[in-house]
């Protein structure tokens, strides 16, 4: 693989440990000018850590970074920027209270100088927007921008500083398929102008579409390196996981009666988050209903409704065939709703509680876990031990704080907590986000088993592949509106993408 183009960036022996976890283990590779290098790996493979070291957010325990042959001092984002490295972070680093121009200008001038040079900056930003196809209003407050626009601002920040190397960390995670196409067009323009790009992703088809070369990371090590033209999705997946990949292939569903039914239900918006707009949906027994959409388009509002955190402001809402009058989290639990919340850290568990305490968070007020207001810790502990055993939760024991568990094991405990109550309706909101392949297939298999046992499953995910593989019927949400249900196999990803972008609803209405 002798590439005649000059090397712009070279990493050697990068090692980084967090406690006992080795996130990066002697990683090294080179990036050539005008190249798109994909860094592929599962969540937790060490991709983001590596890029944070490269950009100076973290200091490596060992190893060196060279840009254009010059060693980069560790732990200094300023030095990385000065050397021409620009980074588009996965979580945007923008100040909401400032305008696009102001965000781009932060740190570009000596602090003690008077004047911001706004006019000059605006002109340059406008020129960059035009040249790279990054449409965004320079005087708009970042607070008012869409996720796609925020990402364009992040790219503009790097281009404004004349970056020669552009690092994009999971840039497509928040985009619609159409926005992703536009991003790829921008990257193409950048490469044509001689920039080099590191594209971090765990989505195989994107890596195949955009990159010249792929480096696969697994458990913090380089597991392989291959020219994109000489490989295919299947082989990349094997390199990434280190084993044969098995996609879940559920048997045909046998849908039963509707256990939860929404008829023209609306909920009020909450801050910037849209509410439901006249949504009609039936969650049927023995069926997985998939909900696709770009995040922040009302999935949260629907999840809140199903789990009892919100009540409808208009429309008819029925659970088990009876119209619901009073709806609360407790009412939802009593109606047999099992909940796997979107954020297992913030809402799914209490970090400093033990596994036992977390296992009974939803049932602590009922026998056998408490009687007459007194906790029965023996019963709670037995329950936790059963979940740990049946759901293969790897942990030091039921009295360990849940904070110590990996995301996958935490999720298994939450899954067990929800499924052990034999729920009639299961809300699975992003159930496999951030899990490794083992935990992921385990969780998916359990959901399919619950479906076959007659539960109605609502699966919310931003990962279209997951939705397509698991769902018996697929709905798409956009700005609080819900598309009609599409039975399994009747829509391609591109067709769903059109709905995700908000088109199609007008015709359907």
């Amino acid at each position: 693989m002798a590439d005649p183009r000059p090397v712009v960036l070279k990493l050697e022996g990068i090692t980084k440990r967090f406690g006992t976890l080795t996130a990066n283990d002697a990683i090294g590779f080179a990036l050539h000018q005008g190249e798109v290098l994909a860094l592929l790996g599962e969540n937790g493979a060490g991709k983001t850590t590596l890029m944070n070291i490269l950009f100076g957010h973290y200091t490596a325990d060992a190893g060196t970074v060279e840009v254009m042959g010059q060693a980069l001092p560790p732990g200094q984002p300023g030095a990385a920027l000065a050397a021409g490295v620009g980074m588009v972070h996965q979580h945007f680093t923008l100040a909401d209270n400032l305008t696009v121009t102001e965000n781009i200008l932060i740190g570009t001038r000596p602090l003690w100088r008077g004047g911001l040079g706004r006019a000059e900056a605006r002109a340059r930003i406008a020129a960059l927007s035009r040249d790279f196809g990054l449409a965004v209003h320079p005087e708009a407050k970042v607070r008012t921008l869409s996720v796609g626009e925020c990402q364009r601002v992040e790219i503009l920040k790097a281009l404004y500083r004349e970056a020669r190397v552009l690092i994009l960390d999971e840039p497509t995670a928040v985009l619609t398929p159409q926005e992703t196409e536009a991003l790829f067009a921008t990257l193409k323009k950048a490469v044509d102008r001689g920039l080099s790009i590191i594209f971090i992703s765990h989505k195989l088809h994107e890596v195949m579409a955009v990159s010249d070369r792929v480096i696969v990371l697994r458990h913090g090590r380089v597991a392989g390196e291959v020219a994109t033209a000489e490989t295919d999705r299947h082989r990349l997946a094997e390199m990434m996981v280190g084993a044969e990949v098995r996609l879940p292939a559920p048997s045909l569903a046998r849908p039963g009666s509707a256990l939860m039914e929404l008829d023209a239900v609306s909920t009020p918006p909450e801050g910037t988050r849209p509410g439901l707009k006249s949504v009609s949906l039936a969650l049927r027994a023995g069926q997985i209903t998939g909900l696709a959409g770009v995040s922040g388009n009302g999935q949260g509002a629907l999840a809140d409704l199903v789990s009892g955190l919100a009540a409808p402001s208009a429309g008819r809402f029925e659970v088990a065939g009876a119209r619901v009058e009073r709806w609360s989290p407790r009412a939802a639990l009593q109606a047999g709703v099992g909940r796997i919340p979107e954020d297992r850290h913030a809402t799914g568990s209490i970090a400093d509680f033990t596994l036992t305490e977390n296992a009974v968070l939803e049932d602590y007020a009922r026998p056998p876990y408490s009687r007459r207001g007194w906790m029965n810790w023996r019963a709670a502990r037995a329950h936790a031990e059963k979940i740990i055993k049946d759901y293969d939760v790897r942990c030091p024991g039921p009295e360990a704080r849940i904070r110590l568990l990996s995301g996958g094991n935490m999720q298994k405990l939450i899954l067990g907590r929800a499924l052990e109550t034999a729920p009639r309706i299961i809300l699975a909101n992003q159930p496999v986000r951030g899990l490794d392949i083992g935990a992921l297939t385990y969780v998916q298999d359990r959901l399919i088993a619950a479906r076959d046992g007659g539960a109605a499953v609502l699966l919310i995910s931003e990962d279209l592949d997951e939705i397509l593989a698991l769902s018996d019927v697929i709905h798409v949400m956009s700005e609080g509106r819900l598309s009609p249900g599409f039975p399994r196999g009747t829509k391609t990803p591109a067709e769903l993408g059109v709905w995700m972008a908000g088109q199609g609803f007008d015709h359907a209405a």
Binding site: T59, P77, L94, A95, D96, E102, I106, P110
Partner: protein, 314 residues
Amino acid sequence: MEILDILLSASFWAAVLRIASPLIFATMGELICERAGVLNLGIEGIMVAGAFAGWMAVYAGLGLWPGLLVALLTGMAFGALHGLLTVPFGLSQHVVGLGITLLATSSAYYAYRLSLPEVTSPPRIEPFQPVHIPGLSDLPFFGEALFSQTALTYLAFACVIAVALILYRTPLGLALRAAGENPSAVEAQGLSVTAIRIGAVMAGSGLMAVGGAFLTMSAFSSFFFEMVNGRGWICIALVVFGAWRPGKALIGALLFAGFDALQIRLQQTPLGADIPYQVFLMVPYVLSILALVLMSRRAEVPAALMTPYNRGDR
């Protein structure tokens, strides 16, 4: 009727500006800290320390302006301690702030006792005198109402303009505002969040101390215990009232000073004979709470206020 008479007197307006001056300095100081993301509850104590340090320096023989500089530096020193504990160490800003208030207040009282062990009533210094501005000070009514102040009052207003210019028109202000909203935006652009926040807390604390020094070096000429009397806490509320904007915070300070000047004068009217004076003392606070409720509903709080920033956190 009495209220109208009071509002039409020039001495009332002169009092408003005088009462507002320490509040303006300290409010601008607090505003800088909070815009950078640090709540500085040390304000009350730092004002006490500034009041003492400036006055003591002049009593010990320094000039008025060098004395003011001593107050400023004293405030910055407490600010450095506050910044060190809350920014790189990431300790609770509430606890550190209250601790700084206790520490600064007691240090000032202790130093007072150490340096003046014998006295029963504190010695006086020659304070800042009203500046005669040719032309303006001689105007009928307005001359007395607006232009009969000491240099420090004019400096307070200049300070508002300076803070607004720095916040909105300089790269430094931009970085500071970003640090209070999303510190990672600052770090990702190659600047140090730690340096910006500590710098903001030091500068803000310096201004608080100058606000305290106004009391001993301009409004009065001696240092008394309890003389700051909750003004620092009022300034915390004024920052919220002003929605973290210098101009609106200035209006808030003037409004509060207006209520305060009014209640003192109302106590001397026939009304004051019938109603206990404590009720009048309450007036500015009650009205401030009302104004706060009405004004701060839609304020944009700096999103990262009170959130410590840890580099490389995970």
